[in-house]
């Protein structure tokens, strides 16, 4: 597949459309590629094949402004003998580098704090690949298929034994099922940590329901990060944490994989000096995911099915739970399903079919 390569930049404009600067950006394409791999997995590709796929990325030009202004970009994958699969990503994908550019312009004095600006992503064809630094060590390296079993499963069965929690799920989200016991354990650990953050790793299984072309994740347990270093606003996952978790997975010997992670926000500590009436509406009390949280998720859990659960240890009430996950290459707050131990099973096939039809991937 021959696709022209592009250089990307952010065009910064003031409110009156006067130009401030055009600043080159390095775009992290890996989350978009991971999203495409997951779409391929969802469409029935074997895990070893899906997770090895690369994507061709091409700009989508803005309908009114035209090139070089972007309306987004399209990523395409084509596995041997399969239909081409593509997905259109919106300009929100460039929000993080655009924020970095505006912060830099403020730091340089080109902009002042509080200036109202617009950041428009742009792309320009380039003929020559930028030179990269020569490697210190030359490696003959090949991607290896991860050990990522995907079990056959019926989405309707789990939907029938669970209740929806939090935000309505987007059609593109990977359905996620979390046992009530896991939430209870995480909530108890968060409470026991008192003023400090705490956390752990969510382990479980991936399933594919071929009838609705959907892959879904089932958490089976949480493994506490007992060697994490914590204070009231920081939780360090040290190398020893990962060693412990891998050892626990080996001991459990249930074929579980790391589906994501959880950590607590000791909101009662953060908000202890706030007026009581303001606490329920505090932005820190729900669906708060910091830049450090995002960086950890991008670094350790880049696969599109990976999730991050936040336990909000709020004052005056039981802990609340927020979930974050990948959606079209971006980390977004989302909903999930709580598996209740005593919930009678009910038929929910219609729900799963509706979720499948709400997705935004395409094949031809």
């Amino acid at each position: 597949m021959t696709v022209p390569r592009y250089s990307y930049a952010v065009h910064v404009l003031r409110e009156d459309d006067s130009a401030v600067a055009q600043v080159p950006i390095e775009v992290d394409w890996e989350p978009a590629r991971e999203w495409m791999r997951f779409l391929a997995l969802r469409r029935g590709h074997a895990p070893a094949e899906a997770f090895a796929l690369d994507s061709a990325i091409e700009p989508l030009w803005h309908a009114e402004r035209g090139a070089p202004y972007l309306a987004g970009f399209r990523a395409r994958v084509a596995a041997d003998g399969s239909a081409e699969l593509w997905h259109d990503f919106k300009t929100g994908y460039f929000a993080a580098p655009a924020r970095a550019v505006s912060a830099r312009l403020v730091a340089e004095g080109t902009l002042r704090e509080g200036d109202r600006i617009r950041c428009l992503p742009v792309a320009f064809p380039r003929d020559v690949e930028p030179a990269s630094a020569a490697p210190t060590v030359r490696l003959n390296a090949r991607p290896a298929a991860p050990s990522m079993p995907v079990h056959a499963g019926a989405l309707g069965d789990l939907l029938g034994r669970s209740v929806a929690h939090g935000r309505a799920q987007d059609g593109d989200d990977t359905p996620l099922f979390v046992p009530r016991t896991v939430l209870d354990e995480a909530g108890a650990l968060a409470g026991a940590a008192e003023a400090k953050e705490t956390g752990g790793i969510l382990v479980g299984h991936l399933h594919r329901d071929a009838a609705v072309a959907q892959v879904f994740a089932e958490v089976t347990a949480q493994i506490p990060a007992t060697h994490a270093e914590a204070d009231r606003a920081r939780l360090s996952f040290t190398a020893q944490v990962w060693t412990d978790v891998r050892a626990a997975l080996a001991l459990r010997d249930r074929g579980e994989i790391m589906l994501g992670w959880w950590h607590s926000h000791p909101v009662r500590e953060w908000c202890k000096d706030c007026p009581e009436e303001k606490r329920p509406d505090c932005a820190l009390a729900a669906d708060f995911f910091s830049e450090h949280d995002r960086a950890l998720h991008r670094t350790v859990f880049p696969r599109a099915y990976s999730v991050a659960l936040v336990v909000n240890d709020v004052a005056l009430d039981a802990p609340t739970f927020s979930l974050f996950g990948w959606r079209s290459g971006l980390i977004a707050p989302r909903g999930f399903h709580v598996l209740e131990p005593d919930r009678p099973e009910a038929a929910c096939t219609g729900v799963s079919n509706a979720a499948a039809t709400a997705r935004t991937d395409h094949v031809r």
Binding site: V137, S147, A233, R234, S236, A239, L296, T299, R303
Partner: protein
């Protein structure tokens, strides 16, 4: 840049900490340091190399055969054998920004 001999470790299996990404590596120069090897593996596996402040993330290479974290200054030829499995484990922070 240092130069390394062409005779290397035959084959290594490398994975990220979650087991979500893996790589097989052959002909690793024996004279390279573990730190140099890890640096190049991070690039090959497209793993994040900086924290949100732009500071380099610290990764440890855990050698499964010996159940220990290798030191960056160790020589590949001394520490590794063909068939070894390495896990790249970051020290990384959640939270902050409040």
């Amino acid at each position: 840049m240092q130069s390394h001999d062409s005779q290397g470790i035959g084959l290594l299996e490398v994975s990220d900490v979650s087991g979500q990404k893996g790589m097989t590596v052959s002909d690793v120069p024996t004279e390279a340091s573990v730190g140099e090897l890890v640096e190049q593996l991070l690039a090959e596996m497209q793993l994040t190399r900086e924290d949100v402040s732009g500071r380099p993330l610290t990764y440890h290479a855990r050698l499964e055969r010996e159940g220990r974290h290798l030191h960056g200054s160790e020589r590949v030829g001394d520490a590794l054998q063909t068939g070894d499995r390495l896990v790249l484990q970051p020290n990384i922070d959640a939270g902050g920004g409040r």
